[in-house]
């Protein structure tokens, strides 16, 4: 697989949220606004990239039996760095994300990529893979956050978008709205992929028929 494909697969084809269903807890919990989605996504991307690089560099040194524990310690170290940095530099963001910053440590996207990719590939590929996955994660969070903020509050990134007559759907900001929106987003993602598969199949069939004639 080329480096470009390695990067791109995280964005759509193997999107960690929409396809692999990993890291669902922060996806649902912090996406009450688009800005929160961006913040959480970037924090996760940072931890994912640093941890992937570190684990890839250490992959020959870490014994197989204790690898999960070692990965977790590496991840936890970077999470602590992010947590303390956010508290110092972006206290507001840190406040609104709350316990979900230290909880990045148990985000299965990160451990999943460490186990499935970084521990088996060289540092360059591991970083590219991590960046792709991280940005795919950020994009999904931002989309979900935007939809919920727009319908639940009438704003987007804090700017009033909906007309004044619009009555906000409070439920979108509440937990129930998170589940519903994500469920429908998954449906839309699958629908799009099914359409594309069918179209590809039809083209292939037409090509085969043309060849037969």
């Amino acid at each position: 697989m080329t480096i470009n494909a390695e990067f791109a697969k995280g964005l759509w084809e193997h999107n960690p949220v929409l396809r692999q269903l990993l890291g669902m807890c922060p996806v649902l919990a912090v996406t009450t606004s688009a800005m929160n989605g961006v913040g959480m996504g970037l924090a996760t991307t940072f931890v994912l990239t640093c941890a992937s690089l570190m684990i890839s560099l250490l992959r020959k040194l870490i014994p197989g039996q204790v690898r999960i524990a070692s990965f977790i310690v590496v991840i936890a170290t970077f999470v602590t760095i992010v947590d303390l940095t956010m508290k110092a530099k972006f206290p507001e963001m840190s406040q609104s994300l709350g316990a979900f910053i230290p909880l990045i440590v148990v985000n299965c996207v990160i451990l999943g990529r460490a186990e499935a990719f970084a521990s088996k590939n060289n540092p360059g590929r591991a970083v590219v893979d991590a960046l792709g996955m991280g940005l795919g994660f950020t994009a999904s969070l931002t989309t979900l956050g935007s939809i919920r903020e727009l319908l639940g509050n009438g704003t987007l990134f804090g700017v009033q978008v909906m007309p004044n007559q619009f009555v906000p759907w409070i439920v979108m900001i509440l937990p129930a709205g998170a589940f519903l929106t994500l469920g429908l987003m998954l449906g839309a993602y699958n629908k799009f992929n099914h359409r594309r598969e069918e179209a590809a199949l039809r083209t292939a069939r037409l090509a085969a028929a043309a060849k037969g004639v």
């Binding site: 807890c25 649902l28 440590v105 985000n107 937990p175 469920g183 998954l186 699958n190 099914h194």
Partner: protein, 191 residues
């Protein structure tokens, strides 16, 4: 009464899965069968109670006196990882079929944010030993309740005609949304 309040708040009003979004992965992954869901709930509850007790002791007697609070995340996750390893060995020894049906989700209890979240919340709210214990018990009961409810609904859903794109995780999310709406009813309870 205060302990009872903590228990009910964790189990129903602020249900860990349906209103705090903790432990969603097993909630989606293991809720296909009622029996597996029940044992997952039990295993998680057990790890939660143990983790709450051990992390309380670590916080109170090691991290706080030495001023090492910044090591909280690292030390908590290590405690949880070793507890999960222990539970895995016990289940493997006691019941092979159960071990097989839980599959990959058993070691993944380590990365179940419900457990880590529980320890962090208990630390943030400065709960005492017994408060942490009751909090963990409530959270475990709430998690078990949510996952068992979900498994029951999904067993029924198997016969339903669902649009192709929504099959699997999509419809599970929508059902979870409806459950979450239902659990909002508990928000009126005050202690």
């Amino acid at each position: 009464m205060e302990l009872f309040g903590i228990f009910l708040t964790a189990a129903l009003i602020n249900n860990f899965v349906l209103s705090q979004f903790l432990g969603i992965c097993p909630f989606i992954g293991v809720s296909g069968k009622l029996s597996a869901a029940t044992s997952m709930g039990m295993a998680t509850t057990f790890v939660m109670v143990m983790a709450a007790m051990v992390t309380f002791l670590i916080r109170q007697y090691i991290l706080a006196p030495l001023g090492l609070d910044f090591l909280q995340t690292v030390s908590f996750i290590l405690v949880i990882a070793s507890l999960v390893q222990f539970v895995e060995m016990v289940i493997k020894k006691v019941s092979k079929p159960l071990y097989r049906s839980l599959g990959i989700y058993l070691p993944l209890i380590t990365t179940n944010c419900a457990i880590m979240g529980l320890c962090l919340f208990a630390a943030m709210r400065h709960y005492s030993f017994f408060q942490s214990l009751v909090f963990a018990l409530g959270a475990g009961v709430g998690f078990t309740l949510a996952i068992v409810l979900m498994a029951g609904i999904r067993e029924e859903l198997e016969l339903a005609d669902i649009p192709r794109s929504l099959r699997g995780a999509g419809i599970t999310m929508v059902v979870a949304g409806t459950l979450a709406l239902g659990f909002m009813g508990f928000a009126g309870m005050k202690f």
